[in-house]
């Protein structure tokens, strides 16, 4: 019983940890797509961010500079996406795919060239990372039944970026629905013509959106390489960018639902990890792959309109052209 509760607590705290990069990336995708620019490139931007963070951390030994580096790289990738999609009105999906593939290749090439180890970066010292923050008196709390562990491991016991991620959701929501920028952003995603005739620059609005997306992807990447782990390893995003995309779609392009989708997917992952190769008396092994595929299946089901319609921003994917 006690053990079961500990299990649950452990899974919950793991859920938060695994959901964090998803939340960052999902928010990134939301900002980009709410402005009408499809963002398939989350994965790539996250990966590049993770690599940048690890490199800077190795060189400077400062977690904060590393985070900054990740953000800058994220922004650069975002600007590239903007250049292709907004300025040159290229195919947004193609651009995203290009970014993913480039990131996958370049990170390993550079990493291997700079550090050897087949693309892995050297391990980081604690002060080059965002370490777990223990809530005051957690070790005593541990002994308090039920709530104790919750306090120690679910509420507390995470690194700074985790809290930033979950702060990003209300902030993102507030920006989107309570600021001028947000109003215009939502408008440009629905109908750029309207925004244009209202005397607002469509281009600049959309650029800001992809830049924000870049920043958030930087956070996501940094979390992977210098908070959750102590090094960058090749392809370490392992499809999280696409799960985040799925979560955003699942959340119908809205902050809170997207966050809950991330938590759900995080939970699934946390459970899947723990079930891997564990034999249950009688049942034997559970096919973990099924649980791992669940996020994608759920998203498809949603897209198919079987559980409510996912309404994408109306102008999503269409470059803004005045004169036909």
């Amino acid at each position: 019983m006690e053990d079961l509760w500990l299990q649950t607590v452990s899974i919950l705290s793991a859920t938060l940890r695994t959901a964090t990069p998803l939340v960052f990336a999902a928010m990134a995708g939301m900002f980009s797509e709410r402005s009408g620019t499809i963002d398939i490139g989350l994965e790539g931007k996250m990966l590049a961010g993770a690599f940048a963070a690890a490199c800077v951390a190795v060189v400077t030994g400062s977690a904060w500079l590393a985070l900054l580096g990740a953000i800058l790289v994220g922004i650069m990738m975002g600007l590239l996406h903007g250049l292709a999609c907004i300025t040159y009105r290229g195919n947004q999906v193609v651009s995203g795919v290009a970014i993913n593939i480039m990131a996958a290749g370049l990170t390993v090439v550079l990493g291997n060239a700079w550090f050897g180890r087949g693309g892995q970066t050297p391990d980081l010292a604690p002060d080059a990372r965002f370490m777990t923050l223990r809530p005051p008196g957690w070790e005593y709390a541990y002994d308090i039944p039920i709530i104790g562990p919750v306090y120690a491991f679910v509420i507390g016991g995470h690194n700074l970026l985790v809290y930033i991620a979950f702060a990003a959701v209300p902030i993102g929501w507030w920006v989107l629905y309570h600021t001028r920028f947000g109003l215009r952003l939502r408008a440009v995603g629905e109908d750029p013509k309207v925004v244009d005739t209202a005397g607002i620059s469509v281009t600049w609005l959309r650029y800001r959106a992809v830049i924000i997306a870049g920043i958030l992807c930087g956070f996501a990447g940094a979390y992977l390489s210098i908070a959750q782990n102590a090094a960058f390893s090749p392809h370490m995003t392992a499809g999280r960018g696409f799960i985040a995309l799925a979560a955003m779609v699942f959340g119908k392009w809205r902050p809170w639902p997207a966050m809950f989708a991330c938590l759900l997917f995080g939970l699934l992952d946390a459970i899947a990890i723990r079930l891997q190769g564990v034999n249950f008396p009688g049942i034997g092994q559970v096919p973990v792959e099924a649980i791992q595929a669940l996020p994608y299946i759920l998203t498809v089901v949603l897209l198919a309109g079987f559980v409510g319609r996912a309404m994408a921003p109306h102008a999503l994917g269409q470059p803004y052209v005045k004169e036909r």
Partner: protein, 375 residues
């Protein structure tokens, strides 16, 4: 911008010059990267180019890789002609491998290769098409964005195959999650084996007969898209859905046809890798060929001939890249992945960036030419 990009250029510029310009741009950026990591780009280039062709082994490997890319390139292209972006080639090829494997595991004890291999291929195509059908159906009748659904299906396929590979097909006590080895009847002959029959001595390489299937697919796609009424319908929908509806063509049906064909083409990878080389279901045997297909199709301008050319180019990059990795350890094969990304970026996403200035340059030369004639 629109004016410039609408300026009509002759076809040879569009389908001949542009891709080359894109390639050069990609090569330049890649060269820059190589320079950054302290290797002389010229040397790297030389090693790669040489490594791709220096002897029959290298050439065979180049072609062996190219075979996959022809399949996936065609798959992407066919979807493109219907105005669809099929990112799911990877997953479709992967599941196709399962189809081939199941068919062969069931029958390799009973049938001769002459029957077994075609059956395997057919099963592969059915599975590949089936895996493409679901997203197609959802797009056509439920309006789900096919890009997202095909991405999701890549991941679903991955999980599915891991489960099947490790939990269902893996022989007990075997380390790798893979099926048992196929019986000899199921081995698609390698080119060097045939050469041996003809008395030619060729080193043993993975290059196998699936290259003929690739050629057949090219011819088929070319005929199907440009010579049949179905191809006509596909192109009409792709170029102008409204006109297609006016013409009484059902976009829904076209989407289904195009995507299923796309999946069936991607299945060729299973023929080359599973039946042609590994002779067993291996995890991740597609190894990114599905995504390379996007670059190949973009560079090949969605035409079989262009696709063959760019597929061979990428095959050479892969083979040359392996050589490069041998010669210069600081450069890993991932350089090629980066190259792919750059090609997709320049020939796809940034296509409109080049058009204006190329148009201008072209106009300039044109004027020159005209003046020259005048005098």
């Amino acid at each position: 911008m629109s004016a410039a990009s609408q300026a009509a250029l002759p076809r040879w510029v569009d389908i001949g010059l542009m891709p080359i310009v894109n390639l050069i741009q990609a090569l330049l950026v890649a060269g820059l990267v190589v320079l950054i990591i302290g290797v002389n780009p010229i040397d790297a280039m030389r090693i790669m180019a040489w490594g791709a062709v220096y002897d029959s082994v290298a050439i065979s490997y180049t072609l062996y890789y190219a075979t996959d890319f022809v399949f996936t390139g065609l798959a992407v292209a066919v979807a493109f002609h219907a105005g669809l972006f099929n990112i799911g080639g990877e997953g479709q090829a992967y599941v196709a491998g399962l189809g081939a494997t199941l068919a062969i595991l069931l029958l390799d004890a009973y049938l001769p290769g002459i029957l077994l291999i075609p059956l395997g291929l057919m099963a592969a195509m059915v599975f590949g098409a089936g895996w493409a059908f679901i997203p197609a159906y959802l797009q056509a009748y439920r309006g789900s964005h096919i890009v997202i659904t095909t991405i999701m299906f890549n991941f679903i396929a991955a999980s599915l195959m891991v489960y099947i590979g490790s939990d269902l097909l893996r022989p007990p006590g075997d380390m790798l999650p893979s099926s048992r080895e196929f019986g000899d009847a199921a081995h698609l002959p390698h080119v060097h084996e045939l050469a041996a029959l003809l008395g030619l001595k060729m080193p043993s390489t993975p290059l196998n007969l699936s290259i003929l299937w690739a050629a057949a697919c090219c011819v088929f796609v070319w005929i199907f898209i440009w010579r049949t009424r179905w191809g006509y319908a596909i192109r009409a929908v792709g170029l102008s859905p409204k006109a297609a509806v006016y013409a009484g063509i059902s976009p829904q049906r076209v989407i289904l046809i195009a995507m299923c064909l796309s999946g069936a083409l991607a299945a060729g990878v299973a023929l080359n890798q599973i039946i042609g080389y590994h002779h067993r279901l291996l995890l991740d045997f597609v190894a990114g060929a599905g995504f390379t297909g996007i670059a190949v199709a973009l560079m090949g301008r969605n035409h079989p001939i262009g696709i063959v050319l760019s597929a061979v180019l990428f095959g050479a990059l892969y083979q040359g890249g392996a050589e490069l990795a041998f010669e210069i350890p600081t450069i890993t094969r991932d350089m090629i992945v980066a190259m792919q990304g750059l090609v997709i970026l320049f020939s796809g996403a940034l296509a409109y960036m080049n058009r204006p200035w190329i148009a201008r340059v072209y106009a300039m030369f044109n004027r020159r030419a005209i003046l020259a004639e005048a005098t």
